[in-house]
């Protein structure tokens, strides 16, 4: 984490990231260990880990064990029956639904956001400026405040209870932050590159495809991961815009399992674990991007 990832998220900034790191390391030899900080740090780790441990350990108990054993003791007869039960209850369908709306939404968000960011940064007109201000304003709109008109709109468009009902508003609300992140990045591409390509006769598509996309790739990955996390975990739109099992996504499925399994708490918790596994895997393999995705748009 030290040297490699310090430079990784900031790799967009060519300023010498390595030099201060080396210097800092040298000066650190003289420091006393920060005991108070360490105590606080480990304490918070306990706050984070104990509930996670509780969920995992409980999901491995049988029902009788859940009611009889100490909640934090390892299960005496660990079982995977709960996981089997969840998988038999259409879990794969919910998983597929989540995957579908996540992939479609993210692709649309990235494509529309990139084009818009390009115009916002390179355009000089009234529309480009005003649009940017409009997007800035859009970040402050509390999504929840729009659910009733959104429900009205979606029912009038005859899209209630469909994947489109989930994808389209998701894209709409993701546009502002996406344009903001991408345009911050595209702004750092030297203007001369655009101008010289223009002089060579490149049109907008050429510029986007051969200049902006390759150079803004880290920002695109960031935007994709940031939005994927939000869409995957989104609860509100599925709650108000879908109802049948066919279109149920994972967070809604968890909620539904809770109602169906009622006292079978281990099974509900197994569903919680299963629904989190894909993101956990993504985190293990793409931590750098996930972290830079979440901290992007944050001024330094």
């Amino acid at each position: 984490m030290t040297a490699t990832t310090v430079s990784a998220p900031t790799s967009t900034a060519p300023r010498g990231a390595a030099a201060p790191a080396v210097r800092r390391r040298r000066s650190s030899r003289r420091e006393r260990p920060n005991v108070l900080g360490a105590i606080g740090g480990w304490l918070w780790l306990a706050v984070i880990i104990v509930p996670v441990y509780y969920v995992v350990i409980s999901s491995l108990r049988n029902q009788a064990g859940f009611f009889a054993q100490n909640p934090l003791a390892p299960p005496t007869n660990p079982t995977l029956d709960n996981y089997r039960l969840v998988l038999q209850n259409n879990f794969f369908m919910f998983f597929r639904n989540s995957l579908l709306i996540t992939v479609c939404s993210v692709a649309l968000i990235a494509a529309c956001g990139l084009m818009a960011a390009y115009v916002v940064v390179r355009g000089q007109g009234w529309l480009a400026r005003r649009s940017f201000q409009l997007f800035l304003l859009g970040i402050a709109i509390p999504t929840h405040a729009t659910i009733i008109p959104l429900y009205y709109l979606i029912t009038r468009l005859h899209m209630y209870d469909s994947f489109l009902a989930l994808i389209l508003p998701t894209v709409g609300f993701a546009i502002p932050i996406t344009v903001l992140i991408l345009s911050n990045f595209i702004r750092d591409i030297p203007a001369e590159l655009f101008e010289s390509m223009r002089l060579d006769g490149a049109g907008d598509w050429r510029l986007l495809w051969s200049l902006v996309v390759p150079l803004a790739r880290p920002a695109l990955v960031t935007v994709a991961i940031y939005n994927a996390l939000h869409v995957w975990n989104g609860f509100l739109f599925p709650l108000i815009l879908t109802q049948s099992e066919r279109f149920r996504v994972l967070p809604m499925a968890l909620w539904a399992f809770q109602g169906e399994f009622t006292v079978n708490v281990p099974a509900v918790l197994a569903a919680v674990v299963l629904s989190t596994l894909p993101l956990l895997a993504a985190y293990v393999f793409g931590r750098r991007y996930l972290v830079s995705g979440l901290t992007a748009g944050v001024g330094k």
Binding site: R32, A116, H144, T146, N184
Partner: protein, 303 residues
């Protein structure tokens, strides 16, 4: 033909170097239709009576009268503000200290930083369901220690549930803000610390006089997100308590949802959402004015 078009484009580009604004259209269309139109729609719907199915009728101020005459509106509003303030007061120092701590170079701190991230991977539904069970007085975590003060009806007692909600919200969102502060701290030039060390400033002094002032923008940004985001703690509270027990945790957003989708009074629910929008925009506006967050510029400009 293509060569001709290319030269034509080159000639045109000499006059107009900017991109074609048409590229803005898809993003603008999505944003306008699915975000701005509903925003305006909330305002319009607040002057109607609608049950969600039958055609809607314009009924003037009926919905507003209903909402403003309902004591629950003000209880929810007060609760929302209370959660907003308390959640900020709890989360900001915790995430600031943790963020500065894991920004350090020690390997174990980096490892802690990796583990702190885990709650961010869970959906609100997952977090809420996990804690609903973890706070169970009989089978939850508290029961493991056989300590009376841990074995309480956390979610069933109206005086305790507020703190549970704050705790769960903090558990879910402190990691994100820790990440912000970690990134912010790592962006502070090392020379500042070297100079301070040479001047004999200790760790506490360095924190107060270098880290904290240097994190000013991060603090403002994180606070903005926290305050505006607190209007939407809906998801986790909805699954955790459903607004209960009684109406002890009926945040404004929850009150709006229940009015709209359980009582089918879409008019009053829209009036509530207008209140939410106004608060949200006012907060964001005040905080941006105060911080200059809107002056979006390249990070590298002026470095």
């Amino acid at each position: 033909m293509t060569a001709l078009a290319a030269t034509g484009a080159a000639v045109a580009s000499r006059r107009r170097t900017g991109p074609n604004p048409v590229l803005l259209v898809p993003a603008l269309a999505f944003f306008l239709v699915f975000a701005i139109v509903p925003l305006v729609g909330a305002f319009v719907l607040s002057f109607t009576t609608w049950d969600g199915l039958s055609p809607l009728k314009f009924t003037g101020l009926t919905s507003w009268r209903h909402v403003l005459g309902d004591a629950q509106t003000f209880r929810s509003l007060l609760l929302t503000l209370k959660v907003m303030v308390v959640a900020w007061v709890v989360q900001t120092p915790v995430s600031l200290l943790l963020g500065v701590f894991v920004a350090g170079r020690q390997r174990y701190r980096a490892l802690l930083g990796v583990l702190y991230f885990v709650p961010l991977l869970l959906s609100s539904a997952a977090v809420a369901i996990a804690f609903k069970n973890a706070f169970d007085p009989n089978f939850g975590i508290g029961a493991a220690f056989h300590l009376p003060f841990l074995v309480q009806d956390w979610l069933g007692d109206p005086s305790l549930v507020f703190y549970v909600v704050i705790f769960v919200i903090s558990w879910q969102f402190v990691p994100l803000h820790t990440l912000f502060y970690q990134a912010g701290t790592r962006g502070i030039p090392a020379q500042l610390y070297e100079a301070a060390t040479l001047d004999g400033a200790g760790r506490v002094k360095q924190f107060w006089y270098i880290t904290l002032p240097q994190l000013r923008n991060t603090i403002i940004m994180s606070s903005t997100l926290m305050v505006v985001g607190s209007l939407t703690y809906f998801d986790v509270v909805f699954v955790l308590t459903g607004g209960g027990p009684g109406n002890a945790t009926r945040l404004l957003a929850l009150q709006m949802y229940l009015t709209g989708f359980q009582s089918y009074q879409m008019g009053p629910a829209s009036a509530l959402s207008v209140i939410l929008v106004v608060i949200g925009l006012a907060m964001a506006f005040a905080l941006t004015k105060f911080s200059g967050f809107a002056r979006m510029k390249s990070d590298q400009e002026g470095m």
